[in-house]
C-alpha cells in the first residue's frame, strides 16, 4: 500500500505525444505509463519498454499441457484401464493427438490469461486509480513517477512546453491495492457533464 506522487500530462494528439515522450525521457524522468484511447504503433518502443515474456510463459504452459495429456492418456489406456477399441493397439497415438492438442491449447490459453492478469495487476476487487477521466476515451495521458528530488513545477512546465493541454500532480496507490479512496471516484458524473 505504497502511495506515490505522479505528475500527469494530457495530450490530445498522437503526433504531439511522440516528441513529448522523447523529450521527457531525454530529460531523465521515468514514465510510468501512457494511457491511450487506442493501440498506438511504436509507442512501446518510444517508451523503451522491454519485450514481453508472456509468450515464453505461454510456451511453457503449452508444453505442460502436452506432457499432462500424453502421460495421463498413456497411463489410463495402457496401465490403469486398457480397453480394446476397434482392435486398435492400446498405445494408439493418432487417436490421442486431438486430445493432446486440445489440452496444449487449453493450458496455454488459460495460463497466459492468468499470467497477463497478474502482470497487469487485474483481479476481481482490485482497485485501479484513474489518472484522468478522459484517459482511454479521447485523451493521451502520460504519467510520470516522481522521486524525492523531482521538481514538479519544472516537470509540469516541461510537459506544457511540449504541448500538454493539461497537467497536474496526483498521489496514487501503486501496485496491488484492495482498499478504497476516501472519496469514491465517479467515472460517470451527470452533473459534471451538464
Amino acid at each position: 500500500m505504497a502511495q506515490k506522487k505522479f505528475v500527469v500530462g494530457c495530450f490530445d494528439e498522437e503526433k504531439v505525444l511522440f516528441p513529448a515522450v522523447k523529450q521527457v525521457r531525454a530529460a531523465g524522468y521515468k514514465i510510468k505509463d501512457v494511457y491511450t484511447p487506442f493501440a498506438v504503433h511504436g509507442l512501446d518502443h518510444a517508451l523503451g519498454m522491454r519485450e514481453t515474456s508472456l509468450h515464453t510463459a505461454g510456451f511453457i504452459y503449452g508444453i505442460t499441457g502436452t506432457t499432462t495429456a500424453i502421460s495421463a492418456i498413456s497411463w489410463i489406456f495402457t496401465k490403469d484401464w486398457p480397453l480394446n477399441i476397434g482392435g486398435k493397439p492400446h498405445f494408439a497415438l493418432p487417436a490421442w493427438v486431438p486430445i493432446i492438442f486440445e489440452l496444449t491449447v487449453l493450458f496455454a490459453a488459460v495460463g497466459m490469461v492468468m499470467t497477463f492478469c497478474y502482470l497487469c495487476q487485474l483481479a476481481p476487487g482490485v482497485k485501479k486509480h484513474h489518472f484522468h477521466k478522459r484517459a482511454t476515451d479521447d485523451l493521451f495521458v502520460m504519467v510520470i513517477e516522481c522521486t524525492d528530488k523531482t521538481n514538479t513545477d519544472d516537470l509540469k512546465a516541461l510537459l506544457s512546453s511540449n504541448g500538454a493541454i493539461e497537467t497536474d500532480v496526483q498521489v496514487a496507490e501503486e501496485g496491488w491495492w484492495f482498499g478504497t479512496y476516501d472519496k469514491e471516484d465517479n467515472l460517470y458524473n451527470e452533473k459534471q457533464l451538464a
Binding site: 504503433h41 476397434g86 493418432p94
Partner: protein, 409 residues
Amino acid sequence: MASIKEQFEIPGTLKTWSYALIGIGGAALLYGMFTKGFSSDEHEQVHFWGTLMYNTIFWTLVTNAAMFFLCFSTMAMAAWMQSFRRIAEAISTLVPIFGGITLMVLLYVVLSHNHHIYHWLDAEAVAKDPILKGKAGFLNPTFFVIWTTLTIALWSYFGYRMRQISLEADVAPMDAATAHKYNVRSMVRSGFFLVWFGLTVASTVPWLWLMSIDAHWYSTMYSWYTFASSFVAGMALIALWLIYMKNKGYMELSTSEHLHDVGKFMFAFSIFWTYLWFSQYMLIWYANIPEETIYFKNRVQGAYKPIFFLNLFINFLCPLLILMKRSAKRNFTLVAFMAVLILFGHWIDFYQMVMGSLMKEHVSLGWLDFGILAFFVGVMILMVARSLASKPLIAKYHPFLKESILHQV
C-alpha cells in the same frame, strides 16, 4: 524515395549458377527421357514420367501460389506486401512456362494412354471395374485434356492481368478518386483469379493430376493438402527471393517487419499443412477400411516409411520449433535456412505423393530426381531474375505503398 534502387541488375554469379543448373538438369532430363522415358520397359517409363510429373506439377503450383498470395492480399486490401509485390509478380511469371511444361507432360501421358501412370486410361479395365465406371464421368481423357488446358491457360491469363494492373502504379501519382477506382479494379481482377484458383487448385486439379494416380482411392482432404503444401512452399520461395534481393542491396523499403509477416505465413501454413496431413491420416487409420488404408500401406509400413516420416519431421516439427519465436522470424539467415528446408520438404512431399503410388516397392530417389529438380530450380532462378530486371522493383505510386513502408508488426 529518391535514393532507392528501382532497377535490378542481374549479377553475373546468378546467371552462371542458373545456366549451370539448367545445363546439368537439362542433361539429366534429356538422358533420362531417352534412356527411360522412351524405353520399352514400362517400369523405366513410369519412373521417368512420374518423376518429371511431380517436379513440374510442384513447381507450377508453387509459382502459382505467389500469384494467389498477391490476389488474396489485394482482395483483403492488404498493404504490407506492396513493398515487395514485384517479387511475387516475378515468381508468378513462371506459371505460363512451368504450366506449359506440365501441360505437355500430362498431355503426353494421357494421349499416349500410359495406363501404368493413370490406371483409368485403360478402357478395358474401366469397363470391368464398377468403381472406375462410376468415376468415368470425371476421369476420362477428354475431360482431363480440356480441364487441364483451361486451368493453365486461365491461371496464366488472370495472372498476366494482375501483373498488368500493377504496372499502372508506376506511371503517375494518383488522386483519391483514381486510387479508389484503381483499388476496385485490382480487386475485381484478383477476384477472377481467386474464383478460378478455388475451382482448380483447391478442388479439381489435385484430384485429376495427382489423386487419380490411385484411381480407386480417394480422400476429401487431398486437394486442400496439396494446396497447403504448394502455398507454404510458395511463401518460402517469396521469402528466399526477398532475402536474396535484400542481400544484394535492393528492396530498401522491405524490412524485418515484412520478413516477419512472410515468416508468419510460413509458420502458420506449415501448421495448417500438418492439420490436413493428420486429418487425412487419422480418419483412414481409425476407420481401417482396406480400400482406404491401401494408400498408406506402403508409405507407413513399406519402402517409403523413412521418406514419409522425414516429410512430417521437416514440414511440421522443424517449422514449429524453429519458426515459433518472434526473433527467429525476423532473422534473415534463419528464415532463409527454413525457406530452403520447407521448399525441399514439400518437394519430398510431392515426391512421395506421386512416386509412392507409382513405384510402391522401392524408393527411386536418385540422380533423375535431383537432376530434374536442378533444371527447374535453374529455370526458376533465371526467369525470376529476368522478370525482376525488366520492371521497376517498386510500384512507386501504388495507393497502399506508404502504408507498407510504415508497416510495423
